[in-house]
Every structure is written in C-alpha cells, then in structure tokens.
Amino acid sequence: MLSPAHHPGEAAPIIELDGVTKRFPGIIANDSVDLALRPGEVHVLLGENGAGKSTLIGMLSGLLQPDAGQIRIDGKVQSIGSPSQALGHGIGTVFQHAMLVPTLTVAENLLLGGPWWRRPNKEGLVEKVETLAQQLGMRIKLDALAADLSLGEQQMVEILRALLRGSRVLILDESTSMLSPAGVEELGALMRRLVERGMALVFITHKLREATAFGDRISVLKLGRKVGEIEPGRFRELDEDTLMAEIVEMMFGIRSDDPESVAQVPGPVDDTIAPLFSVRDLALPAGPNAPGLSEISFDVRPGEILGIAGIDGNGQKQLAEALAGQRADAEGSITLDGAAIDGLTVGGRRARGLRYLTDDRLGEGTVGSFPVAINFFIKEVGAPPYWKGAFERGAAIDQRAAELIKDYDVRTPSRQTPIGQLSGGNVQKVVLARELAEGARVVIYNKPTYGLDLNNTLSIRQRIREVAAQGKAVILISTELEEVLGLANRIAVMAEGRITGFVDNGPDARMNVGRLMIGISQ
C-alpha cells in the first residue's frame, strides 16, 4: 500500500466553498457545505449513495449553479457559470461517467475546445502529450478511437486532458470503480505524482481502503451536509484501521472494525453432489470491440458460489450473456438439472430458473422512464398473476411491488416514481428483487455491487450468501478480488475469453488467483 510520502503544510487553498447549497426538486442535495481544496493535497470526499458528492463536483465544474453560498478561487469570489469557465479557472474534472466522444480519436478528443475556425494542432499535441505522459508514466494511444479504449484507458485520457489544459485542481469522481486492482494502484501512484507537482486533487470513492491509502485529507458528506473532516495531521497520526473505523462512524453512525473483511472464508463444497448447472465447451465469436469465448466448461453444484475473477473486458459479460440466452451465436452445451437449456430463449431459460443480474442496471437492466413497480416485472410481461389474459392487473402488480419494495428495502418516493430517478443502489435492489423473488435455481451475478455504497454493498453480499445457502447455484462475476474471495467457494479466472484455471477458496487462494490473472499458471 502506498502512503503519503510527502507531507504538505497548510498551503493557501486554491478553491474554497463557503456555505454552498444546492436544491433539486424535493431535495437539498448540498446543504451549506464548506470545503477547501489546497495545493499538494489529495482531498478525499466520502459519503453514501446520494450524499451529494457528484452535485458538489457539478458546481465546481460549471455544470450546476449553487442556489446559495459562494465559491472563492484564489481568495476572490468567482462564479463558475459553465464548464469552459471552470477550465479557465484551472479546474479539471474526470466525471463519474466517461466524457469522451466515442466516434473521435483520442487525439481529437484531446483537441476539443480550441477556437472553432482553427485547424486542430495535432503536431503540437503529440509533443505535449509525449512530455506529459513520460513525466507521469502514462501510456496514451493517440490514434485509437475513444470507443475502443477500456474504461481505465479512457480515464487516463480524461486525466491527461485536464493536465493539458493546465489544471491546478483535478477532480476524480469514482474513478476507481471500474478499474482492476492493478489499475487502482496505478491511479493512486499517479495521484501522488500530481500532488507532488503542486496540484490540488479531489478524489471520490466508495472504497475506504483507497481513501486511506491515497488521501491526505478526508471530508464526509451525509444527506447533503458535511458531517466531518479529518485533517492531514490527524490523518497521518492514525493507523489505517482506526482511520477506517472513524470514517465509518461518520458516514453511517456505526462502529465496526474492517467492515469489508469477512469473518470466515468459504471453503469448497462437497464435490460428490451432482452439479446443478453445467457448461461444456461454450464458445462465441469475437465482436468488433469484444473478445470471443472459447472452450468454457464448468459445473456449479447446489449451494455453491462459483466466483469468476479476471480483469474487466476479458469476456465476462459475453459469458454472462451467453449463459442467459442473449447471444444467439453461442455454441456449446448448457444443462440445468440435467436438462439441456442451450436451445432455449432468454424467457425459456428464465422459466427453468436461470436468472441473470446484469452489470448494466440502467442501460439494459431497467427501463428508466417506467415506474419502479413495472420494472419489477419486465421480465415476465404477460405472465399470471400480474397479467390475466392479455390484460394488466394493476392491483396485483401494485401489491406485489409494495411487498418487494419493503422486503428489499428499496428507497423510493413511490411505486410510480420512474426508476431512473432512483440512486444506483436502489435501482440495484429492484433488479435483485426481480431476479431472486420467485423460482430462481441458478443465479448469475455480474458485478453486483458496482458503484454501491458500503451499506448497500454489504447487504447485497449477504443476499448472495443467503441465496446459495438455499441450495441454489450461484455464479458471481466480479472484478473485485475481495468480493470474490469473500463469497465464492471456488474461483475461476478468466483471461481473453477463456478460463485459465480454477482455484478452491482458502488461505492460498488470493495468491493463486493473482498468479492466474497475471498469466502464471498454478
């Protein structure tokens, strides 16, 4: 783990927020927030889902305007009326969601923003990028289409863009949530190099380990208010565990030691039990931006959680889709309880009890403009008792939706609220309820806790354990090693569309999985 090598003093802040307040219909997203961003400091912003972190960032980057309070830059009160003003003040932002134009090349993306009549100065760019990349140890493919980059590479490009613009302040909003562990370490190292150059960094994350490893100062938001701050002085004094405990208390009001650590490591299940779910020689042709699959074979026994680890983009999503029946071009055999299901459609497989929890809950998992209530049932449209004949039975749907909202603790203003307005964690709970509510026998989870806050993460992990305990077969795809190690009985490692090996969970599992991931077989 990295620890701050350089200890900055209390330099004068570049930016100060003073009583900044932002209201949205029916909610105060930021309530009189004070915050100072100083050069040479990584300022970590923590808070639950919906605490108001992104809103605060929106105001710094010119996307949103505060309703009250003021922003001082270099001591002077300034307004940040647009993203270009923010850039003018030297504030660069890497947003929670990628902000590159997919149809332009990396170079073109970096050139966006020049005077419109000018010819884009590619030569000058190449030069500047080379120097910067060398200084910071980044690798940038200037001629690649942005759409062809991995999420991590896209983030690097966005960081580079902020630096090219001469930013003094760099804001990273949940930049690590899509990175592999190695990518996270790399980003952390880069952050250190940047603050060493005198920049002020804002780092938003849901992962406390990252906060403690990379931060110099921590501020915690809760329900739009700032509920606490840990100064660099105290930050350095406390050891990691105490620090985490203190943060958790600020965020959730509960005391716990390491909330993410798992008491007992699950061991392998009895391999004499007949498998519930078997896959043999599954293959899929490669797509333009996605790897194909080949020779994928595995069994999952009832009550077993099979973890699938690997760096993002190695065919995990394709595997999940092929298993769920979303890929017509898949070959190979899939059996559930001894019966072949590879000839069945998505609906057919679902009827047999195969459930797939997608990692893209807003893109394909839900219909954002539809009410929460309907989203519970979009995979069984037309089925009784919610539809009778062809007709919708509103009362039955409402009643069942109310039950599920209660059972799964979905926080929503009403059943009729469009699901797109809920926070990510709550959307995830709706999807979870839909897949697990009735008749599940085999469940495929793809990154089930991506982007969720700690509370939601923990409760969803608990649900996964419960599901397996009920004798169902579980496939858990995750890029977070901790998650896989904490839940799975057995772990398969995927690389370039193949399974490169299986590891039984146990004391040596972390090392063995790690070796497989970096290409060293057991």
Partner: protein
C-alpha cells in the same frame, strides 16, 4: 443509433397523469382539467397571433374566428363535417401512437394511407357487384389493411433485422407510395366508364352507413373505437407494454428476452395497417373512389397532434378534433372573408407551435413548483 433515441419531451416520463397501474381517479381528473386548460389557453394565444396577421391583411379577426367556430363547431352541418373528417384522422393518430410509443418513427403514414385507400377503392366496387355491399366493404377493409401492411414490410424488415433507420426508409416509401398510387389508379384500376383518371366509384348507398339522420360517417365511431382500443392496448395489455419497453429501451427489451426484430415488424404492421384503414375509411365512408394525384397529406399534420397529445389516445381525440375544426371552419371563414385558403395552413401551424411552447413552459413551471 436508432430512432428510439430521438427523444420527445412528452415521452421522457411515462408515469403520465392517466397512471400506469390503477391510480386513484381524483388526481387523474385534475390532470385532465389541467391539460385542458393548458390546451385552451395556448390555442387562444395562437388565435390572437394569427389575428394580428389577419388585421395586417385587412380582415377583422373576430369575424374570421366567429366564422371558424360557427362553421367548425356550432352549425349543425358544420359540426357534422368536422366529426366526419375526424374518422380517418383518428385511425392515423392510432397508427402513429402505436409506432411512436414503440420508439419507431413511422413517417410513412401518408404512403400507407394512400395505398390503403387505393386498395379499398379498387376492390370494394368490384366486390359489391358480386356480393352484398356490407361484405364487400368488409373485405375491402381487409384488403386495404393487408396492402398497407405489405407496403411497410420493407422498412420493417430493414429496421428490424438490419437496423436501417426508419425515418429515411419511411419517408422514401411515402414518395414512392404516392407515385405507385397514381400508377395503380391511372393504369390498372381505372374506371373504364369515365375519361377522368379515377377508380370505380362505390355508390353512396353501399358506403359505410351514416349516423342517424346526419351526414356524419360512422367512420367516426370506428375511429374513436380504434384509438381508444389502441390506447388501452398500449397502457393496459402485455403486448402494449412489450412495445413500450422496446420503444423506451431496446437493450432492456433484449435483456428481458423480448424478440425486438419481431416486435418491430409487428409494430410496423399494426401502424401501417391502421394508417391503411384510415385511407380505406376515407374512401369507403366518404369519397367513394380515389382520383389520380390525390394525396391529402393527413398523416403529416396528424404527427404533431399525437406528439402534443403525448401519445395519449384520449388527448389525441381532442387534438384531432381541434385540427378538424380548424380545417373545416378555417376553409369556410377564409372563403367568406375573401382570404386565400392558405391562411388555414398558417393558422394550424401557429396553433401547433404555440402549443408546443406552452407545453415547454408548463414543463418548466411544474419543475420549478416542486422545489
């Protein structure tokens, strides 16, 4: 991209006032009242604007509007014309609602309308010679539906299986459809009894019955039934929900196991079928035949109406009614005051644009009010 992405402010939130799943009646009623106010107000503003233009032309706007309302809405024979005109327009609105709600921009309604009309006009008079008129008309409707559906097949397959944007294909098919309708009328289904290039005429007595003692075609009732049925289908049935899922998020539809290509083809078939019925209804209920070069372009003017109605069937009835009043009444007022008939076109456009602006202001205000 696919045209699903061509967003429409009206459709961004589906939790519309009428409620998806059995909401209490009072807020719904209040919603309707408010919608009514939000429609009548802007229409008045639009009329005032058009009135200024009339004054510039030296025409008293009050007289003009008195004539419009008198003819379009109040005089017994005028209102019968208005109601008759609504019949085919309602079918077009129904057809457009199906496709727009499913996220498919069928801009080919006019071509489907024309071919439906020609198919009906070609078949009904011939069939009526060998069977009772009622059967003949019924079969002609079926033929019109089939022809219009077939006409939409190329855009449907291209969209469903090749992802070709349907705005281009349906626009092209409308140009093509208008030419083809002409070819059919002039060369194939020509009435041999006249030198005028038109199809055989279905006698008045054989056309769809009129309502009671009026001149209102029973097409109005079919139109009302169709649009209400389509509305209920879209909001109350599983098939409608599937279509709406495809429309709102095609990826979610695939994830949920829906066959998007098949549903796409089904949407085209339904939508084109309804537009084809509109054409057949105009022929079998009102016109009796199709003449060469006839293309009333109804679908193009109905498109904005269903948008303004936020794809809601009931609201569409009101907007189609408004369009009919303006066109029937406007024609009369223009004639009586010596204003060129083109003024009616301008009037409809001003109403359309002002309504769209009002919709926007309403949206803003209700957003601000929630704070």
């Amino acid at each position: 991209m696919s045209a699903q992405d061509i967003s429409t402010r009206p459709s961004t939130t589906e939790a519309a006032p009428e409620g998806e799943a059995g909401q209490p009646a009072t807020p719904a009623a209040r919603g309707v009242g408010k919608r009514l106010a939000m429609t009548v107000g802007p229409v008045l503003v639009a009329l005032a604007l058009a009135g200024l233009l009339l004054m510039a032309l030296g025409v008293n706007p009050l007289t003009y509007y008195t004539y419009v309302i008198e003819r379009g809405l109040l005089s017994p024979s005028g209102v019968q014309q208005t109601l008759t005109r609504m019949g085919p327009l309602l079918f077009l609105a129904a057809g457009l609602i199906v496709s727009f709600r499913a996220g498919i921009w069928n801009l080919g309604g006019d071509g489907q309308f024309l071919l439906g009309a020609v198919a009906a006009a070609a078949s009904a008079p011939l069939l009526a010679m060998i069977m009772p008129a009622g059967f003949a008309v019924a079969i002609a409707f079926v033929i019109a539906i089939v022809v219009a559906m077939l006409w939409s097949l190329v855009p449907a397959l291209l969209k469903g299986y090749q992802g070709v944007n349907e705005i281009i294909t349906t626009l092209m098919m409308t140009f093509l459809g208008a030419s083809l309708a002409n070819v059919l009328v002039k060369l194939i289904f020509l009435d041999p009894g006249t030198t005028v290039p038109q199809t055989r005429t279905l006698p008045v007595a054989d056309r769809l019955p009129r309502l009671f003692d009026t001149t209102i075609s029973s097409g109005l009732l079919f139109g009302l039934a169709a649009i209400i049925a389509v509305h209920l289908m879209m909001v109350k049935t599983s098939f409608g929900l599937k279509l709406r899922i495809v429309g709102a998020n095609p990826r979610a539809a695939i994830h949920a196991g829906l066959s998007v290509p098949k549903l796409t083809v089904a949407v085209f078939a339904l939508s084109a079928g309804l537009c084809g019925i509109a054409g057949a209804l105009d022929v079998l209920g009102v016109q009796g035949n199709v003449r060469a070069d006839w293309n009333p372009g109804y679908a193009l003017t109905v498109i904005p109406m269903v948008f303004l109605a936020r794809f809601n069937g009931y609201a569409s009835i009101a907007f189609v009614g408004l369009l009919s009043v303006l066109s029937i009444g406007g024609e009369s007022a223009a004639r009586r005051l010596g204003v060129p008939n083109d003024f009616t076109l301008l009037l409809v456009a001003i109403v359309l644009i002002v309504l769209a602006i009002a919709e926007y202001i309403d949206h803003r205000l209700s957003k601000a009010a929630k704070v």
